[in-house]
Amino acid sequence: MTGTPLLELRDVYAGYGEASVLEGVNFTVPVGTCVVLLGPNGVGKSTILRTVSGIIKPSGGTVSYRGNDLRRIPDYKIARMGLAHVPEGRGIFPGVTVLENLRIGGFASGARTAEQSETLDRVYTLFPILKERADQPAAALSGGQQQMLAIGRGLMSQPQLLILDEPSLGLSPLLVDQVFDALRAIKEQGTTVLLVEQSARHALALADHVYVIGEGKVTRDGTPAEVRDTLDAEYLS
């Protein structure tokens, strides 16, 4: 692993109510790389991402982003620090239009609406369907289109770190290919990506470094090639 860490988790504990989910998570995301978290359902992958974006606060350990300890910073301020979270299940606002969803994504950048036409064009180039349907309510989009909208909305804040929670969930294989093509383009434009995925084949193709999560901890890590050999066959389906 080389490069300065953009994000670093050290010995992070977190949970919901009385249920403890994370029990000492450690990992680093260097600038300009794509880091993938792999693991079966229920081991705490989404919880890790929620801890990073500040929706839940860790009960122990440190989460540092660009040298700032995120534990005492509220979620909306973390978003304004250039960290965009594309949540599990997409989190599209159904009652507002596609364009308005994208505009909301741009709020965190602090830029005025008029200054965002360039970013908007970039998103439209990546996902042309969003331009076609810009004035329709987001609820009218199909699942794949909603995923594209969610990623596009994340990009609108011009983030330094884009974190994505299972972008392939519920999509047909063809759409998964499309979504990952877009992620590759995003990565190549210099955005750092932290990705949680169950579709290991796609994720490993994109990753620079992989952490395997099991029962609230990192169980092993390495380059995609190193991890691929030790992974169970089921992850690679």
């Binding site: 919901y16 229920g42 606060k57 509220p74 909306y76 304004r80 949540p87 599209i92 009652g95 909301i104």
Partner: protein, 658 residues
């Protein structure tokens, strides 16, 4: 005729401005804000005070609106934000707290006398052909149009509006995208407060100031809001004009003494045909996890108290019941009539609260209709007993049956509704029943009411009539406690809870959802009616102003304060809502303030209700379903299952994926 149309449009203007604040807060958080009226009236009183001291009208009005906005924002920051653990209907009832405080303070300072506020533009008229329209009517219409336009632009054309819409559809997602959701919420409450203040100042050109005047007006305008739909600003405008016309023509052609009944009937009919109003639609929400705060920061009394074994708990419980029943039986020999009267009132309140507990506690449907059922029971009994000379027992039974039937009948539109719409229709019902009862003046005594003498003969000679009445009520209350405990813990209770937690899930395992809810409404009506009969018995007098929205709200507050879905909770809550005003009656003007504050304090400190305090002595609840092969968790250690075994259960409860 043209005068009626002018009156209709003026009413529509009031409805719009009153409704905008309600709709804004509802859209943002799903809460029906009962503090809107009292907060609004602050503006009118502030303006009155400043104008009295020589300030120009517009300065007074602007200052008043500012005060309303600030107080409303303060309510959000100090109260609403701190109740995030509670469900929406509880937050709704909590807004009665600051409302009562404001009404109490205004009453204490200004008295309940009617004070005049001058009309903004004097008493002149503009003439359009034959039609003369007063300046203040024109002013009201202009203000309404500006308010509608302003709120529309704010919501649809500004960054704040878009943030607000995003935060209302998915607060967690909005926060994660950089929107400061708390500040957005405070902003909405401030705007709603300002609109309430504006409405109060508009209305007060026509009515005298009195602490509850805006509140009464707001409740009466629910039909306008519901007709259009709570979600749509345009719908609100159209609904207001429709209901303005309907109510003005009804008042002109039929009678002005049944407007609350018209309000209720309009809501019932409108919601039966359009469950979200004519122009409304179901609010859509982001599919997002409900992140509840970690428990580690909360003070938990239960961790510091030694647990008792189930056997000891059982013995204590039986002992408690025995002491309670014996105590109730011998009370007339110990305390005087004045105190006995209070205990009898608590018992009658408990009977009504137990009934409400079926709908709002077990079945989870927040209802503000219980005072309506009490009124039905009381009036049927009074009329049968006094006018038609039925014997007391027969009159009582008929009254209960009629109240139960009214519950089922009322349930037919109500079971399709939930949340804010159910709150509105039940509240309108509470307002309509006493008005309807007072209408046939020669039968019911009209708004003055009538005396009802009870004929309890010499069952135990040597005791006062009140003592005999008290015993009757105590016996009935004990029977009600037993029946509601059995119902609540039996098959019907489980069905209610299933419907409360998931109607779809309940239906999928064969629970007849509609019938289960109708059962709750019918029983609720029956117990309400019974309570009405008992109250008449003690009070010996019936009058329509005994059955107010406040009584309904107090009853709902009682079951929340005591503990939802718990028989003991209904009892403790009834003691609370009767005793607090009694204790503070020496300072009558402040009793509302005290009640409002203590309501908030209980909601904040004891989210599970007072009855849940007793549960801290009990060990962990024995799981109903055990994994095969594991030893039953006896709870004798007081700790229940180990943490690892409990983990999946808790995770499932929070409903959060990992």
């Amino acid at each position: 005729m043209s005068a009626v149309i002018v009156a209709a449009l003026t009413s529509a203007a009031y409805f719009v401005v009153l409704g905008l604040g309600i709709v804004l807060i509802y859209r943002q958080s799903g809460v029906l804000n009962f503090s809107q009226g009292p907060v609004g009236s602050l503006a009118a009183y502030t303006a009155y005070l400043l104008i009295q001291h020589g300030a120009p009208y517009w300065v007074g009005a602007a200052a008043g609106i500012t005060v309303s906005a600030a107080v409303s924002a303060g309510i959000e920051i100090l109260i609403i934000r701190r109740l995030s653990r509670h469900s929406i209907d509880v937050v709704g009832i909590a807004t009665f707290g600051p409302g009562l405080v404001i009404i109490g303070v205004l009453g204490a300072i200004f008295g309940n006398a009617d004070l005049p506020l001058p009309a903004p533009l004097g008493g002149g008229q503009l003439h359009f052909g034959f039609v003369g329209v007063g300046y203040s009517e024109l002013f009201a219409m202009a203000v309404a149009i500006v308010a509608i336009g302003g709120v529309y632009v704010l919501l649809q054309r500004t960054r704040f509006g878009l943030s607000l819409r995003a935060a209302s559809e998915g607060p967690v997602t909005a926060g994660m995208l950089g929107i400061n959701v708390s500040r957005t919420r405070t902003g909405v409450w401030a705007i709603a407060g300002a609109l309430g203040g504006l409405a109060a100042i508009m209305v007060s050109g026509h009515y005298y100031l009195e602490p509850t005047f805006v509140t009464t007006f707001t409740f009466g305008s629910f039909a306008a809001i519901v007709l259009g739909g709570m979600e749509s600003i345009l719908g609100l405008a159209i609904g207001s004009v429709l209901y303005g016309l309907l109510s003005s023509f009804f008042a002109f052609l039929v009678t002005a003494r049944l407007l609350q009944t018209l309000n209720f009937l309009t809501i019932a009919v409108a919601l039966s045909v359009f469950p979200y109003g004519i122009f409304g639609r179901r609010l859509e929400h982001v599919a997002e996890p409900r992140i509840k705060g970690s428990r580690r920061n909360q003070f938990r009394l239960s961790d510091r108290i030694p647990k008792l074994s189930p056997r000891v708990v059982m013995i204590l419980r039986i002992a408690g019941i025995a002491i309670g029943v014996t105590g109730l039986a011998v009370l007339p020999f110990i305390i005087g009539d004045a105190q006995l009267y209070i205990v009898a009132s608590v018992a009658a309140m408990f009977v009504a609260a137990s009934g409400l507990n079926f709908i709002s506690g077990y079945a989870g449907q927040g209802s503000l209709g219980q005072a309506g059922f009490i009124a039905i029971g009381a009036y049927i009994y009074a009329v049968l007993n006094m006018q038609l000379h039925y014997p007391s027992l027969l009159a009582g039974i008929v009254a209960i049956v009629v109240a139960a039937a009214a519950g089922v009948l009322f349930g037919i539109p109500a079971i399709r509704l939930s949340g804010v719409y159910l709150a509105m229709i039940t509240l309108a019902f509470t307002l309509a029943v006493p008005e309807l009862a007072a209408f046939p003046q020669n039968v019911t005594g009209g708004s003055l009411g009538m005396a009802v003498t009870s004929d309890l003969g010499g069952i135990v000679p040597g005791l006062s009539l009140l003592a005999k009445q008290y015993w009757l009520i105590a016996i009935v209350a004990i029977a009600v406690a037993w029946v509601s405990y059995r119902l609540g813990t039996g098959k019907l209770g489980r069905r209610w809870k299933a419907v409360r937690d998931s109607e779809l899930g309940a239906a999928s395992i064969g629970v007849p959802v509609s019938r289960t809810k109708l059962n709750a409404f019918g029983l609720s009506g029956a117990f309400g009616g019974l309570s009405g009969v008992l109250t008449i018995f003690v009070v010996g007098y019936i009058a329509p102003d005994s059955y107010t929205v406040w009584l309904s709200a107090f009853l709902f507050a009682a079951i929340i304060i005591g503990g939802r879905g718990l028989t003991l909770g209904s009892a403790l809550g009834s003691i609370f809502v009767v005793a607090i005003p009694f204790i503070t009656s020496s300072a009558a003007v402040w009793s509302q303030v005290f009640f409002g504050l203590s309501l908030l304090l209980v909601l904040w400190l004891f989210p599970g209700g007072l009855a849940s305090l007793l549960n801290v002595f009990r060990g962990a609840v024995t799981p109903t379903f055990r994994r095969p092969g594991t030893a039953p968790a006896t709870g004798t250690t007081g700790r229940g299952p180990t943490t690892t075994a409990a983990k999946p259960v808790v995770a499932a409860k929070t409903g959060v994926g990992r």
